[in-house]
Symmetry: C2
Subunit: 146 residues, 2 copies
DNA sequence: CAAAAATAGATGATAATGCATCTAATTTTG
DNA sequence: CAAAATTAGATGCATTATCATCTATTTTTG
């Protein structure tokens, strides 16, 4: 079944908005000499899990990362001492991940750039026609309530 | 300046929604033995330019592609006879691009998968919590009207 | 108009991505 | 409980992306 005008509009707006903003984010971080967004997401997700730690497969589900990519990002983070892994004693396949102090510190430092950039980009986004298109398309498609 | 809750929510929702849907799109196309989404976008954008053709730099601006990526995608499309290039006589640096019949045919064939997938994905998107988050966040941020 | 700056597009080097597959461990099932 | 199926995570390989830089051509400017 072919998409309606509204559905197509929504997808295009979503696509463009994401591409534009994502690029701004990555460039702001790189300009600040900081690692890519992906690192932030992973560090944040692990931190959220708290002191119990979390296993990679949970991160993959939550972050919607490809398993192989997550595996490699984690290896980087671990090699750099930003994340610490301990073997699980209930499941010998799994490794429990926790953010180290150094990792938490880096995440905060990234937030110093990333946070303001979210503000800037979202203001810009909602100010231009993309938000209008997104909003109208969502409105038109929204099932019932709201 | 740090982002508000709403701004952060919007960015996260945008990010997740895009990642989810984009993956579905690419997989649907690949499953149908068709080339990646990027090809569709480029073919479509060139077709939109009509018989006058269009130059790569315009496509780059419109599609928000990296110049080097666009250059290579175009080379692929040209090599496969999907796009035809002619030198511009007003600007010897530029090449004017037009979609060939074969290119138009491929784009249509891709639309056979892509179109229905837009429908499916947008329905799914608006049915789950992502749309709610996007919508609420956009609402909260939208400057004035609407 | 000549020199400097900007623009169109290509390309080499490097890193990131996705897919398929692999090993090891765990769960399920007959 | 043994065999089959599933799951966690790593890794090789091919593709794609990004950055920086390069050439060739305009465009701008003093």
């Amino acid at each position: 079944m072919l998409p309606t005008e509204e559905e197509t509009r929504l997808w295009i707006a979503l696509n463009r908005a994401h591409r534009m903003v994502h690029r701004e984010m990555e460039r702001a971080l790189a300009a600040g000499g900081l690692p890519p967004l992906k690192w932030y997401d992973v560090l944040w997700a692990i931190e959220m899990a708290g002191s119990d730690g979390v296993r990679a497969s949970n991160l993959r589900d939550w972050l919607l990362f490809e398993q192989s990519n997550l595996s490699r990002v984690l290896r980087s983070l671990i090699e750099r001492g930003l994340v610490h892994e301990t073997a699980s004693d209930t499941d010998k396949r799994a490794k429990i991940l926790r953010v180290t102090d150094k990792g938490a510190e880096l995440r905060l430092r990234m937030w110093g750039i990333y946070g303001p950039q979210i503000h800037t980009s979202m203001i810009k986004l909602t100010a231009d026609e993309n938000a209008g298109a997104l909003l109208r398309a969502l409105h038109a498609l929204r099932p019932k309530d709201e």
